[in-house]
């Protein structure tokens, strides 16, 4: 089966005066029809930049320097700007982190919805308005018809994020790229928004790329998860496998360092050090200075994703498991 979205060897560069840095380095993954892919990683791992590249909104001076992005098997990364614009909103919707700043404060939410609908769908003003109200109802805005003419500042944070979701879904896209959709919200609101997103995408058959640093959100929402580290995918696989049986030492450390209610640990298992800055990524495996299982090879050769039990991990520990794969490295 052809995947809905496919990233092939994506490379995103950040030119600076001290040379060109690699913000994202050789990232490949796919998202299937209706699938929820969680992308998790610490700040600076490149997950948000990857998301921005998919919707074609990399902020200069960041630039897509290599690789291909395919939607339904057709390349979209090399489309002219206006053709890419037609895909945004229509095929790929987006949700950003901060609902307080995502909406234009000077226009009513109704106007912003109708505008989006009419940009992508052949509907008249009346029909678009009706659809907008319907959408507001669907995302759980009480009194949708009356709130249609309200301005963003008249909504609470959670309600605004619902409006943002309605905007992202306005033209029934097949994929939604959600970049930290709950980070700016209160914990009790976060749960509501995640539940809503899950329900809507299931109902509409929309695939989701869910970018977050919160492993808990991924565990509850995603089908598969990609763990990013220093601009690369460290491990990717079914969410249950990655959470319960992580294969990459980084994922192991990451999962171990999350405190959980009910544990009896006096100290949390910790990974020493911090993720390297873009300018100082070590040669070989980027994780090697922090890795408890580092080998000589890790300092020289960079591992690609290798089959590791039920997941794929970019780690030489798994080279022995599939020798054929390792030979390439």
């Amino acid at each position: 089966m052809k995947p809905l979205l496919e990233l092939r060897h994506i490379r995103i560069e950040l030119p600076t005066r001290r040379g060109t840095l690699l913000a994202v380095d050789d990232v490949s993954f796919t998202i299937g029809e209706g699938e929820v892919l969680g992308v998790v990683g610490e700040s600076g791992a490149g997950k948000s930049i990857t998301a921005a590249a998919i919707i074609g909104l990399l902020e200069p001076p960041l630039r897509l320097a290599g690789g291909e992005i395919l939607l339904d098997g057709a390349r979209i990364d090399n489309l002219p700007p206006d053709a890419f614009r037609r895909i945004r909103g229509k095929q790929i919707g987006a949700i950003f982190q901060d609902p307080l700043t995502s909406l234009n404060p000077l226009y009513t939410i109704g106007r912003q919805l109708v505008e989006t609908i009419r940009t992508h769908l052949p509907l008249g003003d009346k029909a678009a308005t009706a659809r907008a109200v319907e959408l507001l109802q669907e995302v759980g805005i009480p009194g949708a018809a009356e709130r249609f003419n309200a301005y963003p500042h008249q909504f609470s944070g959670g309600m605004r994020q619902r409006v943002v979701i309605a905007l992202a879904l306005a033209a029934n896209p097949r994929l939604i790229v959600a970049d930290e959709p709950t980070t700016a919200l209160d914990v009790s609101t976060q749960a509501q928004i995640i539940a809503l997103l899950k329900r809507l995408c299931r109902d509409h058959g929309t695939a989701v790329m869910l970018v977050t640093h919160d492993m808990g959100v991924i565990a509850e929402t995603a089908d598969r998860v990609a763990v990013m580290y220093a601009g690369r995918v460290a491990e990717i696989g079914p969410v249950r496998q990655v959470v319960k049986h992580p294969q990459h030492p980084y994922t192991v450390g990451l999962m171990g360092s999350i405190p959980s209610i009910g544990d009896t640990l006096e100290r949390l298992p910790q990974i020493d050090g911090a993720m390297p800055r873009l300018g100082s990524i070590p040669p070989g495996c980027a994780f090697n200075p922090r890795c408890p299982k580092v080998m000589e090879r890790c300092r020289v050769d960079r591992p690609d994703l290798l089959k590791a039990h039920a997941t794929e991990a970019a780690c030489w520990l798994h080279a022995s498991i599939s020798p054929g794969e390792a030979a390439r490295g």
Binding site: D186, M215, K244, L254, S260
Partner: protein, 338 residues
């Protein structure tokens, strides 16, 4: 509990959020006060970690700032080591008491002056209180503090921008320790950090507490973190404490419906497939909180009494709970989240 390091008695803190006077006169509204902290009472015993948990706007950070003296309470009293801070009138008189209470802030990027070298940042409390005389001695103490938080003396000569978030938080901790405090207020010290770094900082805090015999007031919105670090927990909602209990009791037998709601929202990392109660509504505007029990519009167990009469914090099942439903015994037992 004889040896309470910190005691808050019915502390209130209001902020004036009134419209300009002319607008008030024309629209016929009176002055509006935001009750950021509305009658909070608790005490912290020596060597223990007391955690305050709640969502944004619940007043937990205001409590932290009241304790360290960044705000004055509008009413009520704050005692440190049995001394009522308000009884000390001058800055000078307060200084020896204040020195013993220090704070670590949330944002590792904003909490260090970007134009100061790390050694000067850490030495500031030492110089301010004249704890050590002589530059060489001060430098030696700074180096010792840097080592204490797992940094190197060479780091003292750098500026904050050379450090990652976790390292900056270590510098913040070193600065707080420089005035030889016995009590630290930790205001969301790890919420701006990545999880792997969070674990490092939490471990460091625990090590320091054990080694130096520190007492902590730990503030966070993350229940898992609180579970990991605390001995006793207070749950705040709209400026009031709704439940206070020992950690084991609170997590095993949460009484207040809001505590239960919070526990219910903790993501299920173990993926047990547990069905959870749908959470209703959002935190209301603290400027005009709901009447009676502030939680009643979101509470599945609210009745007429809850809408009019404000519950007070009373003992119930080993916990202290402010809830009519709990006191009337009409709350179902907790099904258990984690």
């Amino acid at each position: 509990m004889a040896d309470a390091v910190l005691r808050l008695n019915d502390v209130r803190r209001l902020f004036d959020v009134s419209a300009p006077w002319l607008a008030r006169i024309l629209s016929g509204t009176g002055p509006r006060m935001l009750k950021a902290v509305d009658g909070v009472t608790f005490e912290i015993a020596r060597g223990e970690t007391f955690a305050l948990v709640g969502e944004s706007g619940c007043g937990k950070s205001t409590v932290a700032r009241l304790v360290v003296g960044l705000y004055e309470p509008s009413s009520g009293s704050i005692e440190i080591d049995g001394t009522d801070i308000a009884s000390l009138k001058t800055r000078k008189a307060q200084a020896p008491v204040r020195r013993r209470v220090q704070m670590v802030f949330q944002d590792p990027y904003a909490s260090l002056n970007p134009r100061w070298r790390v050694k000067d940042i850490i030495a500031e409390p030492i110089r301010t209180h004249g704890l050590i005389r002589g530059e060489a001695a001060i430098r030696a103490r700074v180096d010792e503090l840097l080592r204490q938080v797992s940094l190197t003396p060479a780091d003292g000569d750098k500026y904050p921008h050379a450090f990652s978030g976790g390292q900056r938080q270590r510098i913040s901790i070193a600065r707080a320790l420089a005035s030889e405090p016995e009590f630290l207020v930790l205001d969301e010290p790890t919420s701006a950090l990545d999880v792997s770094v969070q674990a490092q900082i939490l471990n460091l805090m625990k090590d320091l507490q054990r080694r130096l015999g520190l007492t902590y007031l730990f503030i966070s919105h993350n229940l898992a973190v609180i579970y990991h670090v605390s001995d006793k927990v207070g749950v705040m909602y709209l400026g009031r404490l709704v439940e206070v209990a020992a950690k084991a009791d609170l997590f095993a037998r949460p009484q207040h419906p809001y505590t239960r709601l919070l526990l219910d929202t903790v993501p299920d990392l173990a993926m047990t497939g547990r069905e959870r109660v749908a959470v209703r509504g959002e935190v209301p505007n603290p400027i005009d909180p709901p009447s009676g029990c502030a939680f009643h519009p979101r509470c599945p167990f609210a009745n007429e009494r809850c809408k009019t009469e404000r519950p007070s914090l009373l003992a119930a099942g080993g916990n202290m709970v402010a809830c009519h439903a709990v006191q009337e015994g009409r709350l179902p037992p907790w099904g258990g989240a984690a």
